[in-house]
C-alpha cells in the first residue's frame, strides 16, 4: 500500500504511448485518519468489511449457480457469468444481502459506554462492597 502524503503531486499511471488524457493530481490522506480511537480497531473493521464482501460474493455466485442449474438441468461454460437474474430474484437477494450486512455489523451499534474496570460504579448489584458481605 502506498503511503499517503497529503498535498504530494502524483504522476498518473500511463499506458505506453497511448493517450490517456490524464494530468498530475494532488494526493489525499484518508489512510491516516483514525475515527474509532484506535488504528488497529480501524484496520480490523476494514478487514471485516472486505471479508464480508468476499463471503457475500461467494454466496451470490452460489445463488446464480443454483438458479442456472434449476432452470437448465445442466451447466455450460460461462453460463454463470451470463445469467440475468429475474426482478423477483434481484429483490429477494438484495433483501437477504441487507440482512446479512446487519448481522455482520450491527455489533458496532452497541452502546459500549461502560468501561469494564468501572462497571461496579454503575451497577450497585456488582459493587465490590456487596461481594465482601
Amino acid at each position: 500500500m502506498e503511503t499517503a502524503e497529503k498535498g504530494a503531486i502524483i504522476k498518473p499511471k500511463t499506458a505506453g504511448n497511448r493517450q490517456t488524457y490524464t494530468n498530475d493530481y494532488v494526493r489525499m490522506d484518508t489512510d491516516r485518519a483514525v475515527f474509532m480511537g484506535d488504528a488497529k480497531m480501524e484496520a480490523l473493521f476494514s478487514a471485516m468489511v472486505a471479508l464480508s464482501a468476499e463471503v457475500w460474493t461467494g454466496r451470490r455466485r452460489q445463488k446464480v449457480l443454483e438458479s442456472v442449474l434449476a432452470k437448465r438441468g445442466g451447466i455450460a461454460p460461462g453460463e454463470l457469468e451470463q445469467y440475468m437474474p429475474t426482478a423477483e430474484e434481484n429483490a429477494a437477494w438484495k433483501a437477504e444481502r441487507d440482512q446479512f450486512v446487519q448481522v455482520m455489523f450491527d455489533q458496532f451499534l452497541r452502546p459500549g459506554d461502560i468501561p469494564f474496570a468501572e462497571s461496579h460504579h454503575v451497577d450497585p448489584e456488582t459493587d465490590p462492597a456487596r461481594w465482601k458481605k
Binding site: I10, P12, K13, A15, R18, Q19, T20, Y21, T22, N23, D24, Y25, V26, R27, M28, T30, D31, A33, F35, M36, G37, E42, F45, S46, V49, A50, S52, A53, E54, W56, T57, R60, R61, V64, P77, G78, L80, E81, Q82, M84, K94, R97, D98, F100, V101, Q102, F105, D106, F108, L109, P111, G112, D113
Partner: protein
C-alpha cells in the same frame, strides 16, 4: 431492455476464440485475463451495462448494501446519539454550534464516530476493487474508448495540452487520481456513484428526476442547454431526453470523464456534446444558451472560481435564459450539530476540499452582483436558486 451491439455476439464463437487466443476474444468485446480466462460481455439491463465479471459485480453489490446500512441504520443511530449526548450536557443540538464545540463533545463516542469510519472505509474498498479491475484490463478498456472517441452521434472535444488548475486535480471522494489523474476516472465514477445513490441510479433515474425539475425560461424556448462540471454526462443526457430537439452540452475539466461520457452517450444513442473545458472559461459565445445548470458541482469548487463561473453563466446565457444549479443553497439550510459534524468529516476526509468555501458563500448575492434576477421563492430552506438573465 436496451440491447448493445455486443449482445449480438455469438457466445459459442467467443468460447472458441478463448481457446485459441485471448487477443481474438478481446477483439470481439470479451475480457481476457493473463491466465487465459475469457469473460464474454454480460450485456445490459436497460441503461446499465453490467460489470464484466460476476464476482466483481457481487463485490460491488455487497458494498452497495453496506453503504445502505450506513446511510440508514448507522446514520439514524449516530444522529440520535448526537442529540442525546448534547441534550444531556445542556446543549441545544439544533443550534449552530462552533465546530470545535461539536467535535469536543462527539469525538469519543463509538456510534457517532462509526458513521465516518464505516462510510469512508467502505468507499476506499469500493475504489480499490474497481481501480484494480480496470487497470488489470487496461488495454481492452482503452481500446473500447479509443474506438468510441471517433464516432457519434454526439461530439467529443479533448484538450490534452490545456492548463489543468491544481484546485481541480484533487482526489475528490477519495477517488484514485480524482477526475483528471486516472485514465479510467469515468468508469470508476460511474460504478462508484451507482453505489453512492444507494442503488437508485442504475437507470439514470435520479438524473432524469433532477432534469425534470430544471426550471425553464419564462418564454418556454429551450434550444441549447449546458451543464458545468458534467462528470460522466448523466445530466445533459437526461436533459436531452427531456428536450429532444435541444442542443445538449456537458463540460468538465476531467478528460477521462468526458471521454467516458461521450462513449456512454453513443452507446445509449444520445446526441449529446462533451468537451474538456473549465466552467469559468467555457469558451462558448455570448448569449448562447437558454439554460445553464449543474448538479452537485459547486461544493467541489473554490470560492474564487465559483464567482467566475456565475459571471460566465451570465455571459453565455441569452437574455431571459435561466441559470439553475442543482446544488441547493447551503446558506439557507437548517443548521444542527449533526450537520456540522457531517460537513466537517465529509470536507476533511472525503476530500471535498472546497466544501467549506461553498458552505460560506452567499450564492444569491453573487448572482445578483453579476446582473441576475432571482426568481421569487427560490433558494429558500436550502432549495435550488433560479436566476434569470435580464
Amino acid at each position: 431492455m436496451t440491447k448493445s451491439p455486443m449482445l449480438q455476439i455469438d457466445r459459442r464463437s467467443l468460447f472458441a476464440a478463448a481457446a485459441a487466443s485471448t487477443a481474438v476474444a478481446a477483439a470481439n468485446g470479451a475480457l481476457a485475463t493473463p491466465d487465459g480466462t475469457v469473460y464474454e460481455p454480460r450485456g445490459w439491463v436497460g441503461r446499465h451495462k453490467r460489470l464484466p465479471i460476476l464476482d466483481l459485480e457481487s463485490q460491488q453489490d455487497y458494498l452497495e448494501g453496506f453503504r445502505i446500512w450506513v446511510n440508514t441504520d448507522v446514520n439514524q443511530a449516530a444522529n440520535d446519539r448526537i442529540d442525546r449526548i448534547l441534550a444531556a450536557r445542556g446543549i441545544d443540538p439544533k443550534a449552530d454550534l462552533p465546530l470545535e464545540q461539536v467535535l469536543a463533545n462527539l469525538k469519543d463516542d463509538p456510534i457517532v464516530t462509526l458513521m465516518p469510519a464505516a462510510w469512508l472505509r467502505v468507499q476506499q474498498l469500493m475504489w480499490r476493487t474497481l481501480d484494480d479491475h480496470f487497470h488489470a484490463h487496461q488495454d481492452q478498456y482503452l481500446t473500447e474508448m479509443e474506438a468510441a472517441d471517433k464516432v457519434g452521434p454526439g461530439s467529443l472535444e479533448l484538450n490534452p495540452k490545456m492548463y489543468v488548475p491544481e484546485y481541480t486535480a484533487r482526489e475528490i471522494h477519495m477517488q484514485p487520481g480524482g477526475y483528471v489523474g486516472n485514465m479510467f476516472a469515468g468508469q470508476l465514477y460511474h460504478h462508484g456513484t451507482n453505489e453512492f445513490f444507494n442503488g437508485n441510479n442504475y437507470q439514470d433515474e435520479t438524473h432524469d428526476a433532477r432534469a425534470a425539475g430544471v426550471r425553464t425560461p419564462h418564454d418556454g424556448k429551450v434550444r441549447r442547454v449546458l451543464e458545468f462540471g458534467t462528470g460522466i454526462g448523466q445530466l445533459p443526457m437526461a436533459l436531452k431526453r427531456r428536450f429532444p430537439e435541444a442542443e445538449s452540452w456537458g463540460i468538465d475539466i476531467g478528460g477521462p470523464m468526458v471521454r467516458y461520457a461521450h462513449m456512454r452517450a453513443n452507446q445509449l444513442g444520445l446526441n449529446v456534446n462533451f468537451a474538456q473545458r473549465l466552467a469559468e472559461k467555457s469558451g462558448f459565445p455570448d448569449n448562447y444558451f437558454d439554460i445553464v445548470t449543474s448538479m452537485q458541482f459547486y461544493h467541489e469548487c473554490r470560492a474564487a472560481e465559483i464567482k467566475e463561473t456565475v459571471a460566465e453563466a451570465y455571459r453565455i446565457l441569452r437574455p431571459g435564459g435561466v441559470f439553475y444549479p442543482l446544488d441547493g443553497n447551503p446558506t439557507t439550510r437548517p443548521k444542527s450539530a449533526a450537520r456540522t459534524f457531517r460537513t466537517f468529516w465529509i470536507y476533511r476526509w472525503n476530500h471535498e476540499d472546497w466544501q467549506m468555501d461553498w458552505e460560506s458563500l452567499d450564492m444569491i448575492a453573487l448572482m445578483k452582483a453579476v446582473g441576475f434576477k432571482i426568481e421569487p421563492g427560490t433558494g429558500q430552506n436550502g432549495d435550488n436558486i433560479m436566476a434569470i438573465k435580464v
